[in-house]
Amino acid sequence: MKFTFVNVMPYRYLPEDFVDNYESSWITVPSHLYDAKKGHQIFNEYISQYEFAIDAGFDAIGFNEHHGNAYGLDNSPNIIAATLARKVRQTEKTCLVLVGNSIALYNPPIRVAEELAMLDTISGGRVVAGFPTGTSMDTNYLYGVPPAELRPRFYEALDLIKQAWTKEEVFSFNGKFTQLSHVNIWPRPYQKPHPPIWIPGSGSIETWDYCIRNDHPYFHLSYSGLEAARKFMEEFWEYRQKLGKDLNPYWVGYNMIILVSETDERAQLDYEEHIRYMFRTLMHIPGKYAEAPGYRSAKSVAKSTVSQFAVHGKSRYSTKKDFSWKSLIEGGNIIAGSPATVRDKLKEIIKTFRIGNITAHLNVGSMPHHLALKNIELFSKEVMPHLKDIWDDEWPVVGWPEVAQNKVGVAQSSAHKGD
């Protein structure tokens, strides 16, 4: 079982009346609501939280990419990761998970291949590459990619990056979106053939199909609760089985907001207002921005109920109206409580959904620094140690750098060497 600490780096200081008086926390959030001094402070606090998580023994620290918004201030995951790459190098096994490199946005996309190769070089082979298609807000509205071109651009960029990392000769690439006469990456990635690639997504069947056929772990990005996740996981494993693939839990990752305190009651006192700020204020995004027409295939739109909401102008990011502590816990949008409560809940989720990776969001909403540190500490001391061995007697680790391998995986690879 692997745990990655993720910090979406929220802007904590939007005003109380934001939801009533402003259109959106993304795309049109006005710059006068941003305070540069506070920004300076929280960026450094957030980097300290990553350092603290490294010392606390997480398997990895993870980074997102978002643009033009207050929800997550990390525009460039590679920059934040770079500030931590040397510290990671000095640990026994901590890796850098670049969850969000939005490769469809960069031309030529080999820039991403180069930066990740640099991080892999500095850290000595500790990098996991995560390539999402990206939100509609980020990619269509803020970075100008025509919605219907996003996925073709994404897959072409992915193909180019993989070739750039693996081909030994200089080659030319004549794509629809990128043309290069000489592809030649220096430095080369430290890992051979290249850093593992995870694909984060929010449930489109085209994406899983790609992941399963190409042996990439799939990361389920959603805060939409346990019922939605249960349905997704059932379909995912069924689909893998149908394609004749194994059921190794490490093929799946799940994003979770986890809030730990001394007791269940104390957890509510500590975190309620901060989590409410996240769901109510930071995710205040109107439907028209949540999904530009063409962002998903007609097939995907038809399959989901989101299109029904489109009629009423509601966003899939703001369909939930009840942000009460009770409702968020019951819906499984958050996992919160005493260490024992959180342990039991996570254990059940891990086992029933067959999850090998959890990306734990432990700094969320308007949480002050000291509270984030408390959450990270309690999670790493009181929760993680009780869960970390799940699966490791049965399944080798897949989709991670070599330092993260478990005993099953080591035994299998030495058996192969003996062949």
């Binding site: 269509n140 509205y141 100008g144 990619v145 025509p146 919605p147 219907a148 071109e149 073709p152 629809k176 439907g287 028209k288 921005y289 999904e291 530009a292 027409p293 063409g294 962002y295 007609a298 739109v301 038809a302 299109s307 029904q308 489109a310 009629v311 009423h312 102008g313």
Partner: protein, 269 residues
């Protein structure tokens, strides 16, 4: 009159669809980003002309830009000329509304002799920094009714934005609109300026520019921008219209374009 739905095979394995009705001089209508409906304006035109209204690639289950490997604006322009060839249209009157206007102007600036006269209705395609064109994106039928019609409570505004009560039918409607916006969005996003201003001077066809005075999507200033760039162009502004003057003030618009079309049909023959 119910229009005939022509299925045209194009570029070997691909399929286009065109609504057609009427007899006479061929008149091609290019619809806006929201999709194609056989509306009262097309019905009226079909009394005097042979109207052809092609569906944009990907709409009405036709081959998409992706299927056709149309990668850019230039590929799209040539696709439309291939379609005109398939339909045997050597000389046409061309009308374009909104996104369709952007496309119509480009076609008229490309093969300058095929388009004998051009009508642009609230056309996209130009960009003035101080008067930005409404960003294309998701709009609900209700938002379209409220923002794109001068009188949202008029019968035509209600008719054009009606949503079915049947959930399945409604989903189908939403999907069709999503597809239309997504497929046309390939050529407009994020700013509907693909260099037309540098080519407008090539247009030889006499041009009639129709605009709603209260257009909130593409402000009326753009009517004059088009006029400045085209050698033989005149502007007609309709003061009780927003983005759909040809529907909101149908009789006035027809009164204005009928003489224009007949004059130019005669002069071109």
């Amino acid at each position: 009159m119910t229009p005939e739905l022509l299925t045209v095979s194009i570029r070997k394995d691909h399929q286009a669809k065109v609504l057609t009705a009427g007899e006479g001089y061929p008149l091609v209508f290019l619809h806006g980003a929201g999709g194609l409906k056989w509306d009262p304006f097309l019905e009226e035109l079909s009394k005097d002309f042979q109207v052809y209204a092609p569906y944009f690639p990907g709409l009405a289950e036709t081959s998409t830009s992706h299927d056709l490997d149309l990668r850019n604006w230039w590929d799209l322009v040539l696709y439309y000329y291939d379609l005109f060839d398939e339909l045997g249209l050597d000389r046409i009157a061309l009308i374009g509304h909104s996104f369709g206007g952007m496309l119509a102007a480009e076609l008229a600036a490309t093969e300058v002799n095929r388009v004998t006269h051009l009508i642009l209705i609230c056309a996209a395609g130009l960009w003035k920094e101080e008067k930005p064109v409404f960003a294309p994106g998701s709009m609900t039928p209700e938002e379209i009714r409220q923002r794109m019609f001068y009188n949202p409570d008029s019968d035509i505004a209600r008719e054009m934005t009606a949503v079915s009560d049947d959930p399945e039918e409604r989903l189908k409607q939403v999907l069709e609109m999503q597809i239309a916006l997504g497929e046309t969005g390939r050529y407009m996003w994020p700013i509907p300026d693909k260099g037309l201003s540098r080519r407008l001077h090539r247009i030889k066809a006499p041009t009639c520019i129709i605009w709603g005075k209260h257009d909130q999507a593409i402000p009326v200033d753009y009517a004059y921008e088009f006029q400045k760039g085209i050698s033989q162009a005149y502007v007609e502004i309709f003061d009780r219209s927003c983005h759909f003057p040809h529907l909101e003030q149908i009789s006035e618009v027809l009164q204005s374009i009928r003489p224009f079309l007949s004059t130019n049909v005669i002069s071109s023959e």
